[in-house]
Amino acid sequence: MNQTEALLSTRGLTVKYPYGDVANVVIDELDLDLYPGQIVGLLGESGSGKSSLALAIMGLARHPGVVSGEVNFRGQDLLKMDDEELRQIRGNSIGLITQKPRQALDPLVNVGKQISRVYRAHSQASKVEAQIRAVELLRSVGINDAERRVSAYPHELSGGMAQRALISMALSVEPDLLIADEPTSGLDVTIQAQFLDRMWERARDANIAVLIVTQDVGIVANYCDRIVIMEDGKITEDRATVEFFANPHTDYGKKLILSSGADAKASNADVAVITSPEILRVTDLRKTFEVDGGKRLQAVSNASFQIHKGRSLGLVGESGSGKTTVGRLILRLADPDSGEVWFKGGRIDSISPKEFRKYRSKIQAVFQDPFDSLNPRWPIERVIREPLDLHTQLSKEEKLARVKELVSLVGLTDDILPLRPGSLSAGQQQRVSLARALATEPEFLILDEPTSALPPAARADMIRLLKSLQERLDLCFIFISHDLSTVRELCHDIAVMYLSEIVEMGTSEQVFSAPSHPYTRALLDSVLFHDPSNRRVDRKIKTELEGEIPSPVDLPQGCYLAARCPLAEQRCRDDHQELIQIGPSRSVRCWKSVEASER
């Protein structure tokens, strides 16, 4: 593929941030070539200089950085151009999509004006023409009621919509090179898949060069032709994707591939009759929150499930699906509007907080943000000891022994005990949270996205740890996550949630091998496997969902998915769907799926 001439090549590209007399070198004498029609994935840990490189390619640096070296774009050095020449290339021949879509938009100006400004900067269009074009562009990236949205301000848009607005700006002038800096990091998986598919098609059809900055091995494996790894401002590996996955050279690369062992088979799932006693039962749980203007946001509705000893339930869904609220209701961090929660035969949703206290040591939790959940002023020893102080009558020595035991249980060593949370890595912090949760030997755990805030390698370690604990301690837990591969590996049973409802339930094996609900299918389809030989773009049939997740405040009358579902009929839009059992331990909230299962 190197016969074609490079569209852009950097030579000795350097980015420095001056601090007084010394300079912090972020990009160090870097050479990189980008070719038309090729999608390049730029990987590296945070702080390796990936984002700085994405900008430096356009001759830009974050204020007050300085770019030097050569950036040859179609034979011309961008860094030697005057401001006006450079301006005409930026946003015209080279488009940029940044990581934080909402921050990339001017908060004081409405979206339509911002899009038309970019358009007018590179064309002779009048204000009115540009405004019309802005509406067209917004519609072309799948924003419904674009006429109304052009006058929206950035703070009135969701992350996904702001991202679309940015994309429409970057593509408004048909660039030859598109730079996308973690373009999907704030997006839900189904929206991410939509976006990446479209970008991939664009790159293929218009023969444009794309540079994607990412930390996600799945994105690279599925969409990139070539992989570039950066460490400390330098390129340490630069190869074709397939070669890289077969045999990574750098340690970082090896770690990445290793951490992607997450495509494992479903855990020891079986439909055999479960004989172990029931630990938790939830029936018809419902919770709404009041939002501005007296309306009510429906967070959870009609959630029912039970969990038996030694089993684990994965609660899966995108942001706003209500999965976290279910966890909070069980933990009594919020009270349900209606419904019941039973723990080992005792009802716990309606008892007084004082009575509930004795259950606290039996029901423990680990939350998403590892640092926020630990008191930053306490040494680790005290953090882990706290539940022992509260719930046990152990002596000082016994407590210390227990703390040490817990620390080694989660794979840490005693020497972290005097440290404070701030000096641990995110992965270690999360292990400490887990050790604290296990301190009182709880019978039930709620793990709310415990792996989501961790870097890829730490995430893989955490999953391995949870898996081994599951076997050793016979743990019983709910695992809340939007990450399907993790859930598949850890959980016996799965409940898929969409917009406050459980839409499908079954064992991991059942749901993953034969998803029934259209939403589950789309969710599974949008999983990006870490395997360049099984790419999403190569799959023939895709279940694609259209558009945005509706607002949980104004829910549709019929099936909540109807507006996005490719299979939707009139009946779907009219009738609200019930969760119907279609087999042993398996139910689905879709009349079409139910009919299909009966055939």
């Binding site: 356009m58 015209n92 940029l96 990339a104 001017d106 908060p107 004081l108 940015l166």
Partner: protein, 339 residues
């Protein structure tokens, strides 16, 4: 929007009234007797009693308050602030003379200060550590370390005494000129109305040094705020994105300034309220008969009606200034909801 303004005004009026009533009681709690200033040395008990009656402070505190508010004849509710115990003139008429002098001084000073602070602040934010930035830092240390009247004296010494290019620091007009007929009591405006350009030029000349002194001090905080606010916006994601989108420099500059403006506007409002009475030292150095001077004299003379009047007027003006600024901020930033 209109409801918001009306509500703000209603609340503001209550606040102003509350402040005035509080002041009314607080000054009367001072361990000082206003009568002693009036009756002179060796007063007879008779004359003291008479003076107390004349000032109305022989009544109960509550009755005094009712009188002040206008329940017995003219008072705050009927638009009267009473008569000064020192001069006998109405407080309102005295404020009507002194307030314009002060407003004229500080408004001009703010215009000058903003005209200096914003461009320099923008430039230094763009090039931190540059020559201009170092110069500004030096100025900050230098100007901030010395009191304003001192700078006033230095400017008089240099520009009037040594160089002779500034008029004598005595009031708003040359002594040989007659003041233009008072219409607004703003000398600059009145002289223009009268078509008296000699007086206008003289008044402008007399404003130069006090304005220089005040703006020399105002530039400090305003410049600092502009710098910080600008460098925050310059390093923001959306300015970077506008550069990456190839927008014209002018257009990016406009976005930057607009985004950086809010804290500068807020600071201007705070400083303005403060300067209404805080310009007193500059007023005395340049013998300007302004509100600051008037209020200090009122306090020293225990002229209760004048003190109450000045405080009420200042709080009402501040109320309007803050309201105006809030509306301006809401106009600039759509995230600030005016409900």
């Amino acid at each position: 929007m209109r409801r918001y303004v009306l509500r703000r005004l209603a609340v503001g009026v209550l606040q102003a009234l509350g402040i005035t009533i509080a002041v009314f009681f607080v000054i009367r709690a001072l361990p000082a007797d206003p009568v002693s200033r009036i009756v002179g040395m060796n007063p007879t008990p008779e004359s003291i009693k008479q003076a107390r009656h004349a000032l109305g402070i022989d009544m109960s505190l509550f009755q005094q308050l009712l009188t002040f508010l206008g329940f017995h004849g003219d008072g705050v509710f009927t638009g009267s602030l009473g008569k000064s115990w020192v001069s006998g003139a109405t407080v309102l008429s005295e404020i009507a003379i002194t307030l314009p002098t002060t407003i004229q001084l500080i408004v001009t000073s703010f215009i000058v200060a903003l005209a200096i602070a914003i461009p320099i602040g923008m430039a230094t934010a763009r090039r931190p550590g540059g020559k201009l930035d170092k110069g500004v830092f030096g100025y900050g240390l230098f100007a901030g370390a010395q009191p304003e009247f001192w700078w006033g004296l230095i400017f008089i010494f240099v520009f009037y005494f040594k160089m002779g290019i500034a008029p004598a620091p005595l009031g708003m007009l040359d002594p040989e000129l007659t003041a233009p007929p008072a219409v607004t009591n703003f000398v600059l405006i009145d002289s223009l109305i009268a078509g008296d350009f000699t007086a206008f030029k003289s008044a402008l000349g007399h404003l130069v040094l006090p304005v220089l002194t005040l703006s020399f001090l105002l530039v400090g905080p305003l410049l600092k705020m502009t710098q910080q606010s600008m460098s925050r916006v310059l390093s923001s994601e959306f300015i970077l994105y506008q550069q990456a989108s190839g927008l014209e420099k002018k257009s990016i500059g406009r976005s930057t300034l607009r985004s950086a403006l809010a804290p500068i506007i807020t600071l201007t409002g705070i400083l303005f309220g403060f300067m209404l009475s805080g310009a007193v030292l500059v007023e005395s150095v340049f013998s300007l008969n302004g509100l600051g001077q008037y209020s200090v004299a009122a306090v020293l003379n225990l002229d209760f009606p004048a003190v109450q009047g000045v405080i009420l007027v200042i709080s009402v003006i501040s109320l309007f200034v803050y309201l105006g600024l809030d509306l301006l901020l809401a106009k600039i930033d759509p995230r600030i909801l005016v409900k």
